[in-house]
Symmetry: C2
Subunit: 189 residues, 2 copies
């Protein structure tokens, strides 16, 4: 049954892009109203806590997407398949390097202190889920742990560099190398 009025989840996704583009401090309510088409009345109806409330819901929304699409499959599915799927999902989600990671961006400024728990949790669970999958492929625990951390870190770095150079190909290249490194069978870590 179609709805006339907006739903919170629609609003969250729309606002997320404004935060992604300007950062937490840089995203003003007037930009949000202009870009999303929602007036301040609607915004404060959905998010009584204002800007911080919006960001909290956006982080939860992002976390839920990654949890469902990436972390959970890494934990339970066939390890190699889940890792390959992770790489494809990451490429799609970050639009081949044209979209940044909001969680990573929040981490780099004073915004981190405001949202320290969800930010740390997102990366911790990503690394942990990937580590588990790598362990199931036969790697020992320290190797799996190190490789997982390196892969997640490299994805973040690739997003930074792709945007700094305004060259999405940097991201695509990095993803291919990350995948090869993850599945490598030689003795090094």
């Amino acid at each position: 049954m179609p709805r006339i009025v907006a739903e919170k989840s629609d609003v969250v996704a729309a606002i997320a892009e404004v935060f992604r583009e300007h950062g937490y401090e840089g995203a003003s309510l007037s930009q949000i109203t202009a870009t999303t088409g929602f007036g301040k009345g609607s915004l404060y109806h959905f998010f009584p806590g204002g800007k911080e409330d919006m960001a909290t819901h956006i982080l939860a929304h992002i976390d839920h997407w990654f949890e469902t699409e990436i972390f959970a499959p890494l934990r339970t599915g066939d390890a190699a398949t889940a890792i390959a799927r992770m790489m494809r999902s990451v490429e799609t989600y970050f639009q081949s390097g044209n979209r940044i990671c909001l969680v990573g961006a929040f981490a780099l400024t004073g915004t981190r202190d405001r949202f320290a728990t969800p930010i740390a949790g997102y990366f911790r669970r990503w690394i942990s889920a990937l580590e588990g999958a790598l362990h199931r492929t036969g790697l020992n625990q320290p190797q799996a742990s190190q490789r997982a951390e390196t892969a997640v870190l490299a994805i973040q770095g690739a997003l930074v560099l792709a945007r700094a150079l305004n060259d999405a190909a940097v991201f695509t290249r990095a993803l291919h190398q990350i995948e090869a490194d993850l599945l490598r069978r030689d003795p090094q870590s």
Copy 2:
């Protein structure tokens, strides 16, 4: 001969830390005056263009430091020595992961568009200088290019992840692996 009054370079270094902590949008003039001790009168005396002027000088200051301490040695010195020195300088500069890269942070938000040229130039010259050094160690051009990009990207990612997890050890671990990967002699890229 000692000076009583402040010099522009002193002011730049002090302001840089405020931008580093809060990002471009998040750093307010009142925070800058509070942290640095310079009043608005002094600030606008040194930087008539205001906040954007300050950020421009800060980026130039950072660029100059890297140019002198890291890029130039990579271009002319003994390759292996210069690379090892780069890793040490990077560890010191970023305070073992407790200090972020302002250029990378600027790249992630709308601030990038304002400073696109210095941001891209910083990373382009870093990668290019490192690529040259790797080439001189015997790697062919594509290998050197790929490894240089991967290393710079990994440094940025390590800074993001270390700050997200509030765990500087992530950065230290990553630096060791990056150095090993850079100097590796096996056939893979």
